[in-house]
Amino acid sequence: MVMVGALHRRIVCQMLWLVLAWPITLGAQPSHDVAVVVHPDVPVDSLTTADLRRLVLGDRGFWPGSLRVTLLLRAPVAYERDVVLKNICEMTEAQFRQHWIAKVFRADTAVAPKIVYSSEMAADLVNRMAGAITFIDAAQVGRGMRVVKIDGRMPGDKGYTLH
């Protein structure tokens, strides 16, 4: 009887915790802006959505000054990748993969996007590789990172599209 009572209390406590924690877990779902970060030497301060699409889809391979673009993309299921595929490429994950397989197969480019597995790795490599561009959750953008405007807006601005 004592054991049943203890078990009952434990279940009630756990349910109560779940109910209380629910809004917190909802709030933890990433829904904030994604910043477009480039290597400090990239001679660009602002991009249009169309520019960004051409970069992500490999239709544009050079920055002004003939600096080669290196695209660093988060691995599948990352929030940043989902935002880019949905808002910029208007593609599903399968369509995006097929696009890049075809892109390389057509000899349009020899280099597919490089996969980064964390925001820290993206931040590290974007500052290390000349011509690199990547996408980082705006809340995790640190000092020394070069964020470019998209359609004239920075992350947090009204009308910013990458979220």
């Binding site: 050079f62 369509q95 397989i101 790795m121 490599l125 290390r128």
Partner: protein, 380 residues
């Protein structure tokens, strides 16, 4: 005196040192910084390495059932395709494509024919100066036809099982391969994204379905120009036109000048996907004004169904080829009217199953041929 000399020496030494450091420091600052070695393996792998060879492949297995003896029946192995790409430096890359095609005459002849025919489909070395200027040399799929350069030998990439007959591999209507040099790029054009490709090469060989791999068989080079736009305002749309000229030299026939004008319009989204192409091929016997004109076109439409059926993609294509009856060069090329209807099912990200019916007729006085075809296509 001694103290004065010593002081003067110290002042001069200091001034020279300051000047030397002043001139040397900017030079040091201008030297490219060596990248710091990354800490972890993933980061290390992301840094570029040259050469960086990557190999991918495509394969397919087919089944055909036809009501008349008009091609292969039963199970057939498709082409086994290997694609190689290697960045040799930040601006130079090599692209290669090799296929192995099952032979109908395997085991016959002396020495016995092998089971598969190996072919170097593409071998391209390209120098990228910028987006506006890329120069390459090698063997290409002739860029005067959208399908020919969009899907190459990757059956998995295309929605349908078959290629349009106007660009059938081994076909003659359009020169499928091109050996030579190509200049390509994107012209500054605002949001219009106007792309160009201009080429010079050997053109058709003595067997007109083949390119002049071992050299041009006449002194008139083949020239091509392809221009297309991908406007920003209509993401997914590509519209273009191309022109091609060559002199055809074959054994036992007079030479002919060939002029091809082609156009395409493609909506590359999947809901819907629309591909339309048309090409007019004109042959003029050298030294005469007699010209023949043959026309081919096709229209394909497909639609990726919405969830929960989004793995399914039904499609339809109509093709028409009309060969000028006076065209000596295309004397063996048949006319065609065909309707193709089918569905593609993407069983996984890299594997699909397609099944399609074809109803076709070669001439008005010939019977319709009906066939049902299935294919498993994949990339690896």
């Amino acid at each position: 005196m001694t103290d004065y000399s010593h002081t003067r020496f110290i002042v001069r030494f200091t001034l020279v040192s300051i000047l030397w450091l002043g001139s040397a420091l900017p030079a040091v600052a201008q030297q490219p910084a060596h990248p710091t070695p990354p800490d972890d393996q993933a980061a290390r792998e992301a840094l570029p390495v040259y050469p960086s060879l990557h190999i991918a492949g495509f394969g397919d297995v087919n089944f055909a059932a036809v009501n008349r003896n008009d091609g292969a029946r039963g199970f057939t192995e498709g082409q086994f395709t290997l694609h190689m790409v290697s960045a040799l430096s930040p601006r130079i890359a090599f692209f290669g494509e090799v296929t192995f095609t099952p032979r109908l005459d395997a085991g016959t002849g002396s020495p016995a024919a092998t089971g598969f025919n190996a072919e170097v489909e593409r071998a391209i070395i390209r120098f990228d100066q910028s987006d506006a200027l890329k120069v390459s040399f090698g063997r290409y799929h002739t860029p005067i036809n959208w399908w020919n350069t969009a899907f190459h030998h990757g059956q998995w990439l295309q929605t349908s099982i078959s290629r349009p007959e106007m660009v059938q591999f081994g076909g003659r209507f359009i020169p499928v391969h091109f050996v030579g040099a190509l200049v390509e790029g994107v012209a500054p054009s605002g949001g219009w994204n106007i792309n160009y490709q201009a080429g010079i090469g050997n053109g058709r060989g003595s067997v007109i379905s083949r390119a002049g791999d071992a050299g041009d068989n006449n002194d008139v080079p083949a020239l091509l120009l392809n221009v297309f736009t991908r406007p920003d305002r209509a993401f997914g749309l590509q519209v273009g036109a191309s022109a091609y000229s060559d002199r055809i030299t074959t054994i036992g026939r007079p030479d002919y000048n060939e002029r091809i004008v082609a156009g395409h319009a493609v909506w590359q989204h999947e809901n819907p996907e629309v591909i339309a192409e048309i090409a007019d091929v004109r042959h003029t016997q050298v030294g005469t004004s007699v010209t023949t004109s043959s026309l081919a076109y096709y229209l394909q439409a497909a639609y990726r169904l919405p969830a929960p059926a989004r793995l399914w993609k039904p499609y339809y294509r109509f093709e028409h080829i009309d060969i000028d009856s006076n065209d000596v060069v295309f004397a063996d090329v048949p006319n065609l009217d065909v309707s193709i209807f089918g569905v593609r099912y993407d069983i996984s990200t890299y594997v699909c199953i397609k099944t399609e019916g074809r109803i076709r007729r070669r001439a008005e006085n010939l019977p319709w041929t009906n066939g049902w075809f299935s294919q498993i296509a994949f990339t690896f």
